[in-house]
């Protein structure tokens, strides 16, 4: 089971500032282990952020996003107390959804 994300969603002015950390290997598929066997690629391919039923960011990632990925962005229309929901989906079909409550500025 994948670990929960660490999500921070804070009001800055009229915008919601979202910072998220995801626990994921982001394995490139290009590396070999000590005995010379290739380590299979394992990485997040899709990230979707929604607020009030509307997608506020969607991303497609390759293997060169760093391990334990970090993402930071801003959107308008959110208020303190409302929820931001983030979902990631990796190349093995594993999925994780977490949500955070928007904090005041």
């Amino acid at each position: 089971m994948a670990d929960p994300m660490r999500i921070r969603a804070n009001m800055t002015g009229d915008k919601v500032e979202v910072k998220v950390l995801m626990a994921h290997e982001m394995e490139t598929g290009l590396r070999k282990d000590a005995s010379g066997n290739a380590i299979p690629a394992h990485f997040i391919r899709n990230v979707t952020v929604t607020h009030g039923g509307k997608t506020v960011l969607s991303a497609q990632w390759g293997t060169s996003v760093s391990r334990n990925p970090f993402l930071h962005f801003r959107f308008k229309g959110g208020k303190p107390g409302e929820k931001v929901t983030i979902t990631w989906l990796d190349n093995r079909g594993e999925k994780r959804t977490d949500e955070a409550v928007i904090a005041g500025g």
Partner: protein, 153 residues
Amino acid sequence: MDAKRREVLKTGGGVLALAAAGVIRPGDALGQEWNKAAFDTKSVAETVKALGASGSTPSSGVEITAPDIAENGAVVPIAVESKLPRTEAIAILIEKNPNTLSAEFAIPSGTDPFVSTRVKMAETSNIYALVVADGKYFHAVKEIKVTIGGCGG
């Protein structure tokens, strides 16, 4: 140098509609599509083409914030901001990585044309920020040097 970059980004391919390219779609509700063809590309020109453009124009409206030198290539902080009206998407390309395309973000209206993340760089390379604004492609480029560190390697 700019002229050369413009040259690099001219792919000579026909102009494809964004939807047809199936790549950058702000409305993609679940974001479950993944553009394998684009992520498999091995040069900036190929990536731009795979993302549905025949070329891209350098623009001062695209800003990259990143260090000039990375102490380690496994984590290179990079932020991209677009000042161009109607920015729909932002992509991060790393020229000398085994696969050029690192990430792309669809930016719906209401979301700032800004993303900040961290990428891996295999070696010193140019990083391109490619922006789709009002259906056209623009880019900025920045070289980031990756240093060798530690004592046992």
